[in-house]
Symmetry: C2
Subunit: 159 residues, 2 copies
Amino acid sequence: ESAVVSGITLDRSEAKLSVIRVPDRPGIAYRILSPLAEAAINVDMIIQNASSEGYTDFTFTLPKVDLPKARQLVEFVAREIEALEVRADNNIAKVSAVGTGMKNHPGVAARMFKALADENINIQMISTSEIRISCVIEAKYGELAVRILHEAFNLANGA
Amino acid sequence: ESAVVSGITLDRSEAKLSVIRVPDRPGIAYRILSPLAEAAINVDMIIQNASSEGYTDFTFTLPKVDLPKARQLVEFVAREIEALEVRADNNIAKVSAVGTGMKNHPGVAARMFKALADENINIQMISTSEIRISCVIEAKYGELAVRILHEAFNLANGA
Ligand SMILES: C[C@@H](O)[C@H](N)C(=O)O
Ligand SMILES: C[C@@H](O)[C@H](N)C(=O)O
C-alpha cells in the first residue's frame, strides 16, 4: 500500500466546533451552516456520524482566527434547535495521508491507524475520501504524527 | 458558488456499518479496520466524530456485497473492545457535490443542505473534503436528491 500514498500533510491552522446532540431531522444541518456561510467563514471538514435515538453531533473545523465569531453564531443556533451544547477545541492538528484510489487499498487506513496507535496518539476524528484519509489529533502530536507516517509509508521526509 | 460545483454523483452500491460506543483510546480504530483490510474489503468512507465521555461511534461504508462478511468480522472486534453494538444499514445512498476549492466557498455546503432539507430528505451522515461534500441519505431518495442538487447548482442533468 505504500505506493498508494504519495504524501503526508499537516494542518495546524484549524480549530474544531461541535454542536452536541442535535435533533436528527431535515433542516438542521442547513440551520447550523448557513449563518457561517453568510459570515464568510471558511468551514473545512464537516463530520456528522449516524444518529442514535434521534440525535447526533455535528462537527466542523475552521480557521482558528474565525473561532470566536463562529462559536457565537453556532451557540445561537444551538439554543434555537435545542442542542445540548457547543464545544470548541483550539488544540487540534489535522494529519492526512494523501494518495489515489485509497478505496481499493483498505490496508492504507489500517496502516495509518496502526502507526498512530503505536505512538499512543489518540485519533479524535476521522474523515476520508478516495484521495485522502484525515485524522484529527491533539495539536502537540502533529510533527511526530507526520514523521511516523512518513516512516510507515516509506516516504522521504518532506513528501 | 454554482461555479465551484462541477457535478453531482450518486452511489447506491454501498452499505453502512457502525460500531456504537467504542472506547476513545489509541488502537481502537486499528483494531476495527485491520481485519477488514486483511479480508480485502474495500472500505470507502470512514466517519468518526469526536467523543463524549470517552466514547464515540465508528462508522464506515463498504460494497453491499461485503456486508455479511464485514459485519461478522466487526462484531467479533466489537465484543473484544466492549463496544455497545454493531449496526448495519443496507438502505443508504451516498450523494456528493463534487468541485474544487470547496473550502473557500462555505455557501456550497449550505446550499446543498438546504436543497435536501427543502425536500424533507434527512441527511444521515456528512463527510467532506476540499473537492467533495458527501451526504448519506436513505436509498429511496437517491435520484430525487441528484435532481434537486442539479437544480440547486445550475447543472444540466447528467453533470
Ligand atoms: C443532523 C442533520 O444533518 C439533519 N439530519 C439534517 O438533515 O439536516
Ligand atoms: C476511536 C478510535 O479512533 C480511537 N480514538 C483510536 O485512536 O484508535
